[in-house]
Every structure is written in C-alpha cells, then in structure tokens.
Symmetry: C2
Subunit: 224 residues, 2 copies
DNA sequence: GTCTATAGCGGGATAGAC
DNA sequence: GTCTATCCCGCTATAGAC
C-alpha cells in the first residue's frame, strides 16, 4: 500500500470532482472538455480514456452525487415509525442530502429542468417509489391512528412537507436575499430552518383541537 | 388596422416565442440560433436584426415571462390585508405565475442554477424586496394581533409557505410521479393543490389551541 | 426587412507517440 | 496511462445582395 500522503491522486476521481463543479456552475452544454481537464489539472484527453464520452462523465457525476444518496434513503426509514418520527427523519435527510456536496442543489435544479434527458429519470423514479411513497404511507397511517388531521390528502401533505427543504436549497440565491444575506446562508440558519420545517409540518398536520372537528374529509377523489 | 386574421405574424414576437420554448427545454447553451429560426419558421439571421446577440434574446425571453410578472405582483397586495388574506393571495398568485406560460417553471429552474449569470439577479431582487418582504411583514403583524403563533420566525414561515407551490411546479416531473401520473399533472389536481397549500400554511400558522401555549422558541442549535 | 453565403472560431473526439 | 496534435463539425455572427 502506498503511503497515505498522495492527495486523492487518481485521475478518474479528480475528473469527476472537477466536472461536478463545472457542470453545476455552468450546465452540461456550456462546460467544455478542456475546462474539465484544466480544472482537474489533467490532460483533457484522459476523459476519453476513463469515460466513453462527455455525456457518460456527466451521468457518472449525477449518479455519484444524486443516485447514491437517493438509493441509500430507504435504509434511513426502518419499519415501525410513527408519522411524526418519519417526518423528522425525512426532513433531516433532505438537508443532509443537499449538504452532501455544495453542488447538489444546482445539479438537482438543472436535472429538474432537463427532465427529458434520460439521466434524471431513474433517480426521480427511485425518489418517488422510495422515500416519497413511504412518507405518504406514514401520514395515511397517522390519520388512521388519529394523530394527523384527516382532511388533508396524504400525497399533497407529503409534497408540502418535503417542499420546504427542497425549495430552500434549490432556490438558495433567493433565500439568501430574503434572509438578508449577501452571498450564502450561514450554516446555523440552515440548522434553524431544518428544525423550523419539522415544526411547521407537524403543526400543519396536527388534528384540529378538541371541540371543533377537522374540516370534513374530502371525498377520496382520484388524483388523475 | 389589418384584419385580425394574421396569426401573430410579427417577427420579433415569433422569435421570442420560439426561443422561449427551446431555452426552457434545452437551456441557453444547448439551443442554437438555427433551431430558433426553424421553430419560428423564420430566417435565423433575423435574430441579429431584432436583437444584438443570442444572450440579449435570452434576456428578453426571461424579462417577458419572469420579470413582467414579478414586477406586477405588488399591485396584487393592497394595503390593509390580514395575514391570512395575504397568504391566500400570494399562493394563488404563485400558481398564476407558474401557469402564465408552460415554460415558466423550467425557465425558473434554470435561472436558479445559473444565478451567477447576471440575467437572473434583478428578477430575484424584485422578488425578495417585493412580495416576499410583504408577506413576511403580514405574518409579523398577524403575530402581534394574536392570529398567528408566535414561536415561528416570520421569514422562515414565509419561506415554508411559498415553497409549496414553487416546488410543486419546479419539480413537476417528480410531482407527476409521486401523484401517479405518467406525464403531466392535470389541471384539477393543480387546483386542488393550490387550495391544499393555503390550508396547510394556515394550519401551520394557527395559534396553538387554548390552554397549552405554543412551544417555546427553539434555541438555534447547531446540527453540524 | 429578409435572405444567402461564409468567415472565423472553438467544440468533441481520435490517432498514435511515448 | 498520459500526452500531443489534429480532424471535422457546427456554432455565432457578419457582409452584403435583394
């Protein structure tokens, strides 16, 4: 084994790292092979030794940052949770996801706009079929147990819950302005928002107080 | 005045229209002058007669769809509103904004990722200084009047409120999957979500019921 | 105002030396 | 595995005819 001094010196990792930053900042089309080589301090032609083409490099970047995290999500949601526990776990996991690399929110924003591209589709499928459906089921169970108001559609309530952190990070430049920061929202404000988002969602979902029943349950109308 | 038969036949408008669709679908860098000309059924060189260059065309597209709507927002929020009225107005205006062209959500998603670009900055400034600050002030007044729970930070509560509709549209491909639709979320589901978002926010902001006071304001605790 | 033709540049990708 | 040199293509933008 070589001494641990070598600072992450393997070429494919350096290319992925450099490409991630450039793709996030400029987008796929605006980023050139030569820029990536320069940022990685490697010869640009190496990209074609380690990856079939530019698109494959992009797909590898996305899979590393978005795909891996999304696929690891279900393990964070063991069986037997209450809805309130599930909400707290999911919201905190969203924050961890968005902070797992400074480029994640922008990569995500671009993929949301580019959804015709095939790269984003499997990741979105995993998100929808995994944590989203799970949280929705927890909310439905919470309604049956009387812990959650029954006039809310579980799917829509799930969206409202996860929208908070998602939008906070994806619209980061807007959030920074709204919160009065020039550049970036400081870490402790992100932490405060995380706890706020959990409180906000739990308050919205709490059953209407004592005497007055919650508004009459909406007919289970097809979402289609 | 010419007979109303001519179908929007002025060239600059046709170019803006065509460019909007292509920029939204593919992004600025991936869209070519020739594609725009072809989509507008006009000679591509005309772009350089009506606009200085490609970037100026892009800026014009953004200003037409995003800028104009944002600048018109304050007029929707007259003086003397209650916080609850303000929330309903802002949420419905967000939906109207997102529906004002089918391309708005994607244009917005791209601008959020591209915030280094100068084009987005003034629009975000107007959003932050206009409707966002206004809603925040309304919530603060609502807290003083005892209509809104006082343990929530008005700025964070504003973000949570507007995040719902913003995320619903920007993450549309994800929302469609979560709601079980193959392609697009149907209009009546969007309408249901609009009313849901108002209900959700108002429930989250309602003062804690009678005896028990709202939870004490959380100390800013570091999660990191 | 609209069109053709093209200049001039920079992109992705490859061949092949080392 | 890494690097140089380069091909070929398609892009933005312009010149100038009509």
């Amino acid at each position: 084994m070589p001494p641990a001094a070598a600072p992450a010196a393997d070429a494919p990792a350096a290319l992925l790292e450099a490409a991630e930053g450039l793709f996030a900042a400029q987008g796929f089309a605006a980023t050139t092979i030569k820029q990536i080589g320069a940022a990685a301090r490697l010869n640009p032609a190496l990209i074609y030794y380690y990856f079939p083409d530019k698109l494959a490099l992009y797909a590898a970047v996305l899979d590393r940052r978005l795909g891996q995290f999304v696929r690891a999500m279900p393990a964070r949601l063991p069986a037997g949770l209450t809805a309130r526990e599930g909400i707290a776990i999911v919201v905190r996991a969203q924050v961890a996801f968005m902070r797992s690399s400074p480029h994640v929110p922008r990569l995500l924003a671009r993929e949301l706009a580019d959804h015709e591209a095939a790269v984003a589709a499997p990741i979105m499928r995993d998100l929808a079929h995994g944590p989203f459906r799970r949280l929705q089921a927890l909310i439905r169970e919470g309604q049956a147990a009387g812990e959650i108001r029954t006039d809310l559609d579980p799917a829509l309530a799930t969206i409202s819950t996860i929208a908070q952190v998602a939008w906070f990070f994806v619209a980061h430049p807007l959030m920074a302005r709204l919160l009065g920061h020039e550049g970036t929202v400081p870490n402790r404000t992100v932490d405060r928002f995380t706890e706020h988002a959990i409180t906000f969602a739990l308050a919205a979902l709490a059953p209407a107080p004592g005497g007055r029943p919650s508004r009459r349950p909406r007919r289970p109308r097809r979402t289609a």
